[in-house]
Structure formats: structure tokens, C-alpha cells
Amino acid sequence: MEQYLVFRLADEHYGLNVNNIENIEKLMPITRVPHTKQYVKGVINLRGEIVPVIDLREKIGVEKEEFGEETRILVVNWKGEFKVGLIIDEVLDVVYLSKEDFDQATRDRNEFKFSIAKYNGMLINIINLEDVLFEKAEEV
């Protein structure tokens, strides 16, 4: 059994293992960094620490939309090496998922592969952090 944070991007549910997540922040001013990829929105001042922020919608190819009241930044930590903020539309829940909850099927979206988990009748696209943080979709 592992804990997953379930959040919304457009009208779909996504999940990320909570072990990856350091904090959930409200939207704050983001400073653009020149010469970076389109989905890199810039950096934020996270209590004295500079943290890059990427728009998860853009990164995995969900159509763009204005940020709203419920928009949050998930600050994830990559193996203690660096932190990155992921902009998502809305945090929904934290759930326990066990192996049985995961479907055999996977789903491709713009070359990102998601595992699918079923929970209380809802389908959750489970994100592999490595895929999201490192170049994959763009390489082609």
C-alpha cells in the first residue's frame, strides 16, 4: 500500500506518489527564465530557495488554460538533488493504492506512459516523475 496524491489536470485525474512530494504551495509570483523550454514557467522564491516551476499541463500535452483559484504548485524533490514545482489544476485527495488497484493497461499520451489505477470507480493516471522531469516528449 502506498499513498498517492490525486490531482486534476483539465477533467482528468492524475496521481503522484506522495514520497516524491515535499509541499503543496498556492500559486505565487513566478519569474521567467530566458532561454528555457516553453513549459518551464520560471522560478519561484520558496522561502529563500530558488525553485524552478514547470507547467504540467504543457509538459504532458494537455491543452493550456488560465491558472485559477485552485491552481497549486506541487514541489517535488528529485532524489535530493534538486526541487521542481509542478503546476496542477486542483488537488483532490490523498489515497492508498495497492498493487491490485493498478490496471494491466497503460496509457500513452504524447509519448508519456501512464500506469492506470482504479479507485472508487475513478481512473487515475499515475505519473512517473522521471518521465515528467527529464526530456522525453521533446526529444523527437
Partner: protein, 666 residues
């Protein structure tokens, strides 16, 4: 006993000793007769042996032991040092260094026994090659470490025909008055001999600061059994382990005292006296210093940075209130933060000697490898730079020195033919220049063949044959392009796939720059200019549209307002201005950072930045003013954006990008 807690200390000290071995052996190579140097080497080897033994690094200990024997023979005049012996000794030091590397990486010394070296060292003394694994392993456990006084007392005792014993006394677990019991032991033993050392100390024993065990070292003419029985006759003693300490089994706990001892020996000679005084000074200095983990300093530095950020924030708020008392307090705060900042910076400063010290050895090996003759002269080793910079300096300097030796200095015969001294000269110097530190690598070799560089550039397709109008500087710039080498024959040294481009990248990462001055037939000089520190700088804040950028003040030459009609367009749409008869190319910061430039203005604010001799004008929308900023890295995820050298947090909590001036002028 768990020794791991001492590992850090061991590594630091072993590193120092290995360095001093290298240094002194180089000196010895030049003055093979100088017994003073042999003595120094011997002491380092001896201490290293003791340290390795204490830590349980048996192989390392064995090797140093063999080395020490050779050195002892040289010291006692039984052996004359020759180049062959020097080579073996140098190899030994290399082997010790690789032990240290393994220890740093794994915490253990690894499996390598370096038997060939041990045998080679033994062979110098005429000892047969043996499987050394047996001999000194047992000795390791027998080492007794004492401080200088005790060691001397022990040595004196032996000279006078006394025996030296050590008793490990264990009290009964039910013993109630431990210190009283120990006192009885002391008194009983003192009837038969003299106690010269106890562990823990007598004071601690009196204060009952020990468990149930203590050990005493005794000199006596009595047989060991007699004393042992006498101790056992006291009640509530559980066990007594009696050991006789034989000559050769004692070593000093610390090197410091050893130096003093030798200093006293040399006191007679007038000439040596100066050396001795200097040493004592440095000794006193070291005893007043503390080794601090660099991470702790980083934490301190970060806190100071935060303080400076919050200070600017409060300053900003204070302007609203316009209250005298408020202002005064803030001025006071300002003074304190500035002093604190300076103080912390100073703590982080280390002499460049840290890096320089390994070069004499490297250059010696290099001269042999290349079959060339040259001398390395270093100056300004005590020039201090922030630790973060010093750590990064090694690689670029190694490359430049190799470059000087390999590409610069000619073969001895060729030099003679050209009327130069047979032996070349490579100078490595460091000095402070304002807020910069300058490091120069200079050789008196053949200089850079600019024509050849140009040919090579044409060959590589970097330059069209008709483009001949190049300045010297522009040609030299080719040398810093990736994988550009003018050497036809790729040697072991230059063929490592690192070019001057690596040097340039590294130095620029550190916020510095490299310049080359060369004269055909006379030599080449590389000048590296670096900021003293990386963490906090003065910057000019400017805006383009609604974005704020910081430009390091150190690289700004001046700021000018330029009327629109004074901006001229020259070849291929490049914009320039004339400033005091100098042509300066102009760029819009907007375009540089990927925004639309504002063109319909009557007047433009131009920040003139310099990089070496090169000037470039940067058009910005507005100047916000100058302030201390704390440089923060953009982190690993965003690394490699060449235009931006970092980010900073402004007083209002927002983030601004710091422009890398080196990239602005490209």
C-alpha cells in the same frame, strides 16, 4: 574501538603529510645532501605510519614503515640518496596517495598491498624480498602512543637500564569506591617503580571519570611479575594485564611535539635558527586555528545571505515610515550585516597554495615524461580566495600548466639553437587586484604560432580562406573553441580530449575570464581574472518591460544615455555607437532575453559592460539602482543556461535573474 569518527581527521592530516612528503622530496632532489630535509621527510613518514596504524590501515602502515626505514638509513648517513632511490620514494608517495583516495571513497584502505614497492624499499637497504604480510601486521597492535614527554621519559628510562611496563587494570564490577581503589593501586606501584603515565589521567581517576578500567605505564627495575602481583594483592581488582614495552614500540601521539623536539636539536646552528623561529611561529598559529567542516561554513554563509536579503527588505519598508529612530536602527543593522558578511567571507578565504602545492611534483613528472627541461617558479601562494573558487581552480590550472610545458616550452636543443637558456621557465603567480584575484601562467617558450592557428581554423571550416583580416585577439579566440589543437602530434598529455575550451568554460562559470598574451619566440601568458567570492556581489538592477535583471557592477564600465540618431547600423544590421572615438557594438537586452525591443524612443539608456578589453553596450529600459545581491544557483534542473549566472531574491521577495556579463559581450 570505533575509529570511524576519526576518519575525517585522519584524511585531512594524511593529506597534509603526503603533500609535505611531495614538497620535501622535491627539495631533496635538488639538495640530496641536506639532512634537514631528510629529517622532515622522515618525520612525515613516521607520523603517517603511526596514524595509519592507529586507524587500522595495515597495508598503508607497512608501506610507510618500509619507507621510514630507508629514510632512517639516509638520516643516519648509512645511505646516500640517488635518483633511483628518489624514484622509488616518489612512487611510494603516489601509492600512499592512492591509499588515501581509496580511504576517502570507501572508508577502508582496500586490498592493494603494494608489495613490489615494499620489496623495492627493502632492497635499497639490502633486505631480502620477503612476504611482508607477516612481519609488521603483528606490530600494528603493539604500537603504544604517548605524548612527547612520556616518550622521552620512556627513552631515558631505557638508556638508564630501566624497564618500561604497562598494566591494564580492571576493577571488580562491584567495586564501590573506584577512585579510592585506583589510589591504592597507584600507591602500591609507586613503592616499586615510577608511574609516568596513566590513562585516563590521574585527575580523571580521582574524579571517578572512568569505568572499571585504567592503564598505567611504569618504569622500574623490578621484574614485571612482582609489580603485577603487588597490584593483584589489592582487593576488588578483577584482572591485571601486564605488558613490557620494548624499544621501537612507542610512537608519539601527535606530530606537533615532534617538530619541537627536533627544533631543540638544531638549536646550536646559527643558520638553522631562523628556520626554527619561523617554524615555531607557524606552530603557534596552527595551534590557534580550528578545522571546520565546509558545510557548516556554507550554512553560516546562507544565513548571512538571508540576513542581507531581509535587511534590504526592511530598508524598503522603512522608507514608508520616515522615522528618525527607525532609520538609525536600520543604519546600525546595515553596519552589522556588512561586518558580519565580511567576517564570514574572511573565514571562508583560503590561500591558493592549497591548489598550487601539488604542481611542483606534477611538473617534475611532466618534464621527465616530455623529455624537456624547465623550472616552475611560483609566487603569491598566500593569496587568499574564497574556498568555493579555490576548489574549482585545480583543473583549469593543471591544463594551462600542461599546455605551457607541452606546447610552450621547446626541446632543450631547440632552445639552445634559438639562443635561449637550455632550461625553460614556467611562472605561476597569483595576486590581488582590487576585487579580483589574478592568476597568471607564463612560459618563456615559443609562443603561439598565429599563422598556424589560422590555418587550422580554415582546415576545420571555422574560417573562410578569404577572411584574412583578423585581429590577433580574434585568432587567439579560436584556441578556446572545443577540441581545437595546434599540435600535430597528439601526446599522452594533450590527447586527453580536454582543450582550452574547458578552461574557459570553467573560469567563466566562476564569473571570471581568461586572456592570452603571446609573442612568437618569446612566450605565452595566460591571465585568469576571478572574483574573490561568488556568494554576494554588488549589482545594478535594470528593467526591460516588466522584468528585472541584475548586472554585476564589477563588469560595468559606465552607463550612458544615447540619442536615437547616434546609434548607427553597420554591416549586416549590427548596431554600434561611437563613444570617445571608440566603436562599441550595441545590443538590446530585450532581444537577449527573448522579448520585443522598444525601438520608438528618443533616448536609450545603455549600460556598457566589459569583458577584458572588449566593450559592449546593452540597451535597457530603466535603471533601478545598485545593491548588494546574494547569488543563488538556479539549481541542477535549469543548469546550463549560459546567459544567466544565477538568480537573486530582491527585498520584496521577488526573484531576479543575474546576467552573466561574459555572455553579454559575445
Amino acid at each position: 574501538m570505533d575509529m570511524s569518527q576519526y576518519l575525517g581527521m585522519f584524511i585531512e592530516e594524511a593529506r597534509d603529510h603526503i603533500q609535505s612528503l611531495n614538497d620535501n622530496m622535491l627539495k631533496l632532489e635538488e639538495n640530496p645532501e641536506d639532512l634537514q630535509i631528510v629529517n622532515e621527510i622522515f618525520r612525515s613518514a613516521h607520523t603517517l605510519k603511526g596514524m595509519a596504524g592507529t586507524m587500522g590501515f595495515v597495508n598503508m602502515q607497512k608501506l610507510t614503515h618500509a619507507m621510514e626505514n630507508v629514510l632512517a638509513a639516509a638520516r643516519d648517513g648509512k645511505l646516500k640518496v640517488n635518483p633511483n632511490i628518489m624514484d622509488i620514494l616518489f612512487k611510494t608517495v603516489d601509492a600512499l596517495e592512492s591509499y588515501l583516495d581509496v580511504i576517502i571513497a570507501t572508508g577502508t584502505e582496500g586490498q592493494e598491498a603494494n608489495l613490489h614497492l615494499v620489496n623495492a624499499l627493502n632492497a635499497i637497504l639490502g633486505k631480502p624480498a620477503e612476504d611482508v604480510a607477516v612481519s609488521s601486521a603483528t606490530k600494528a597492535g603493539k604500537k603504544y602512543e604517548y605524548d612527547e614527554f612520556v616518550v622521552r621519559a620512556i627513552e631515558r628510562a631505557w638508556d638508564q637500564g630501566f624497564n618500561v611496563y604497562r598494566f591494564d587494570v580492571e576493577l571488580d564490577q562491584n567495586c564501590l569506591l573506584k577512585s579510592a581503589r585506583a589510589y591504592l593501586v597507584f600507591r602500591a606501584v609507586e613503592e616499586l617503580g615510577e608511574i609516568i603515565h596513566s590513562k585516563p589521567s590521574v585527575q580523571d581517576i580521582e574524579d571517578e571519570k572512568f569505568d572499571f578500567e585504567f592503564s598505567i605505564t611504569v618504569i622500574s627495575k623490578q621484574p614485571i611479575e612482582k609489580i603485577r602481583d603487588r597490584i593483584l594483592s589489592i582487593s576488588e581488582i578483577r584482572e591485571v594485564k601486564a605488558l613490557e614495552i620494548k624499544s621501537g614500540e612507542v610512537s608519539m601521539a601527535e606530530e606537533k611535539e615532534e617538530i619541537e623536539e627536533v627544533q631543540q636539536e638544531t638549536q646550536v646552528q646559527e643558520t638553522v635558527k631562523v628556520v626554527r623561529q619561523q617554524k615555531q611561529e607557524s606552530l603557534q598559529k596552527t595551534s590557534k586555528t580550528v578545522r571546520v567542516d565546509i558545510e557548516r561554513l556554507d550554512v553560516l554563509m546562507n544565513l548571512v545571505s538571508e540576513l542581507i536579503i531581509i535587511k534590504s527588505r526592511i530598508e524598503g519598508l522603512a522608507k514608508k515610515y520616515n522615522d528618525r529612530q527607525y532609520e538609525e536602527s536600520i543604519e546600525y543593522l546595515e553596519r552589522i550585516t556588512t561586518s558580519l558578511h565580511d567576517a564570514v567571507m574572511k573565514v571562508r578565504m583560503v590561500p591558493v597554495e592549497r591548489v598550487f602545492s601539488r604542481f611542483p611534483r606534477m611538473m617534475r613528472d611532466l618534464a621527465r615524461e616530455l623529455g624537456k627541461e624547465f623550472e616552475l617558479v611560483m609566487s603569491g601562494e598566500d593569496t587568499e580566495v574564497d574556498r568555493t573558487i579555490v576548489d574549482e581552480l585545480g583543473d583549469p590550472l593543471i591544463h594551462l600548466l600542461r599546455n605551457a610545458a607541452d606546447h610552450g616550452i621547446e626541446d632543450p636543443d631547440e632552445r639552445v639553437k634559438n639562443g635561449k637558456p637550455r632550461s625553460g621557465l614556467i611562472k605561476l603567480s597569483a595576486y590581488h587586484d582590487g576585487n579580483n584575484v589574478v592568476i597568471e601562467v607564463e612560459d618563456d617558450g615559443k609562443g603561439i604560432d598565429l599563422e598556424k592557428v589560422k590555418q587550422k581554423a580554415i582546415e576545420k571550416g571555422l574560417l573562410k580562406e578569404d577572411q584574412i583580416e583578423l585581429t590577433e585577439q580574434e585568432i587567439i579566440d579560436f584556441l578556446f573553441m572545443p577540441s581545437f589543437s595546434t599540435k600535430d602530434k597528439v601526446t599522452n598529455l594533450s590527447g586527453r580530449g580536454v582543450g582550452l575550451d574547458v578552461v574557459k568554460t570553467k573560469i567563466e562559470q566562476l564569473g571570471g575570464m581568461v586572456e592570452v598574451k603571446t609573442q612568437k619566440g618569446k612566450g605565452t601568458k595566460f591571465v585568469i581574472r576571478l572574483p574573490l567570492t561568488l556568494a554576494i556581489i554588488q549589482a545594478l538592477l535594470v528593467t526591460v518591460h516588466d522584468e528585472i535583471y541584475a548586472i554585476p557592477v564589477a563588469s560595468i564600465r559606465e552607463i550612458v544615455d544615447v540619442a536615437k540618431e547616434d546609434i548607427k547600423v553597420v554591416q549586416k544590421g549590427k548596431e554600434i555607437i561611437m563613444l570617445r572615438n571608440q566603436v562599441i557594438p550595441i545590443k538590446h537586452l530585450h532581444s537577449i532575453v527573448g522579448l520585443e525591443p522598444v525601438l520608438d524612443k528618443k533616448k536609450f539608456t545603455v549600460v556598457i559592460v566589459r569583458r577584458g578589453e572588449k566593450l559592449t553596450g546593452i540597451i535597457v529600459d530603466k535603471l533601478l539602482g545598485q545593491q548588494d545581491i546574494v547569488i543563488k544557483s538556479l539549481g541542477k534542473y535549469l543548469e546550463g543556461i549560459r546567459l544567466i549566472s544565477g538568480a537573486t531574491i530582491l527585498g520584496d521577495g521577488s526573484v531576479a535573474m543575474i546576467l552573466d556579463p561574459n555572455m553579454l559581450t559575445v
